[in-house]
């Protein structure tokens, strides 16, 4: 196991940070939550952020927090789709640079799919104060727990493992069905 500083990983995978912030912004817009400021990427900590009005409902907060998981996962699967065949399945000795570019962008996006702990802290604050009950609350609490666990496992490159697994989904379906 080798340790690489977070800022360096963010720099190497900056397309993922940009898409992560776009996803927060997109879902804030969808949930009608005003956005004040967005930093798509910077060299520092945090690598990107979105400043928005506090969400009024649990649904709004859930959407904004979980937005990157949805958007980054879908884009990772789509962008890496064509690159996985020459690079992984066929192990081509020479392939076009466009496949390398797609693999880099796709895996970078996949690696930033998990909402950060700060995202989850904001979300958990809403969960704590909400008067809503039922299935949404349960789903919210379980999701928050799983995502916090996923964030903790980033130390063991779980974000890269997740991106790799996501990239194999579409090719696997095509080859098996």
């Amino acid at each position: 196991m080798f340790f690489i500083p977070g800022w360096l990983i963010s720099l190497a995978t900056f397309p993922g940070v940009i898409v992560h912030e776009i996803a927060h912004r997109f879902f804030a817009d969808l949930a009608d939550v005003p956005v004040y400021k967005i930093c798509y990427f910077r060299v520092g900590n945090p690598a990107g952020y979105v400043i928005h009005q506090p969400a009024k409902t649990l649904r709004q907060s859930f959407l904004i927090s979980i937005g990157p998981l949805i958007v980054n996962t879908i884009l990772c699967a789509l962008i890496t789709f064509t690159a996985v065949f020459p690079i992984i399945y066929l192990d081509e000795q020479s392939y076009g640079g466009v496949f390398l570019l797609l693999a880099w962008v796709g895996y970078s996006i996949g690696m930033h799919a998990f909402p950060s702990n700060e995202d989850m802290n904001n979300f958990l604050a809403t969960v704590k104060n909400t008067k809503e009950r039922g299935l949404l609350l349960l789903a919210a609490k379980v999701s928050a727990l799983l995502l916090q666990l996923a964030n903790a496992l980033r130390f063991f490159w779980f974000d890269l493992i997740y991106a790799y697994a996501v990239s194999m989904i579409l090719p696997w379906f095509i080859l098996h069905f």
């Binding site: 977070g6 800022w7 963010s10 397309p15 940070v17 940009i18 992560h20 912030e21 776009i22 927060h24 997109f26 804030a28 817009d29 005003p34 956005v35 004040y36 400021k37 967005i38 798509y40 900590n45 945090p46 690598a47 990107g48 952020y49 979105v50 400043i51 928005h52 009005q53 506090p54 969400a55 904004i64 927090s65 789509l78 962008i79 064509t82 690159a83 065949f85 020459p86 399945y89 066929l90 192990d91 081509e92 000795q93 020479s94 392939y95 466009v98 496949f99 570019l101 797609l102 962008v105 930033h112 909402p115 950060s116 702990n117 700060e118 995202d119 904001n122 090719p171 095509i174 080859l175």
Partner: protein
């Protein structure tokens, strides 16, 4: 009003400047973001033109591996040959083809297996697999390379 930040890899929350509290127009993104998305879309469209050949080759590879696992070495070699016709630089297909040819045991085909392996570097696993089936007189053509 209290603002909330949704951030990546956050350790500290940034103080908010009062001048930054104007509401941004919904679903409006900077030109460079649109250009970035457009460039990726073009790359995806370009790569899609290779997809039918790649999918066919990947399916062929799967069939070849299945044939080899069932001991149908000649069938496996033919399938690997189809893959190499579609994607000539596939390392997996080259190694699989050579392995199938050597396992099939027809000495007339052995040079084809050696030719397929020309110019490629084998990892330890691949060499272990190949050396089990490759006739010893051909193994002298391979040498260790530094990592």
């Amino acid at each position: 009003m209290q603002e909330v930040t949704s951030e990546t890899n956050v350790k500290n929350v940034t103080a908010i400047d009062q001048s930054e509290t104007a509401i941004l127009t919904a679903h409006k993104y900077p030109a460079w973001v649109k250009f970035f998305a457009f460039s990726i879309a073009i790359c995806i469209l370009y790569s899609l033109t290779f997809l039918p050949a790649y999918i066919g080759a990947a399916r062929g590879l799967k069939n070849a591996e299945a044939a080899y696992a069932q001991g149908q070495f000649q069938q496996a070699a033919i399938q690997y040959g189809y893959v190499l016709n579609a994607v000539p630089s596939s390392k997996k297909a080259k190694i699989g083809f050579a392995e199938a040819v050597f396992s099939n045991g027809n000495p007339d085909d052995f040079p084809l297996g050696i030719k397929a392996l020309q110019g490629i570097t084998l990892d330890t696993d691949s060499w272990t697999r190949l050396s089990k089936v490759m006739p010893s007189e051909y193994q002298q053509y391979f040498h260790d390379v530094p990592n």
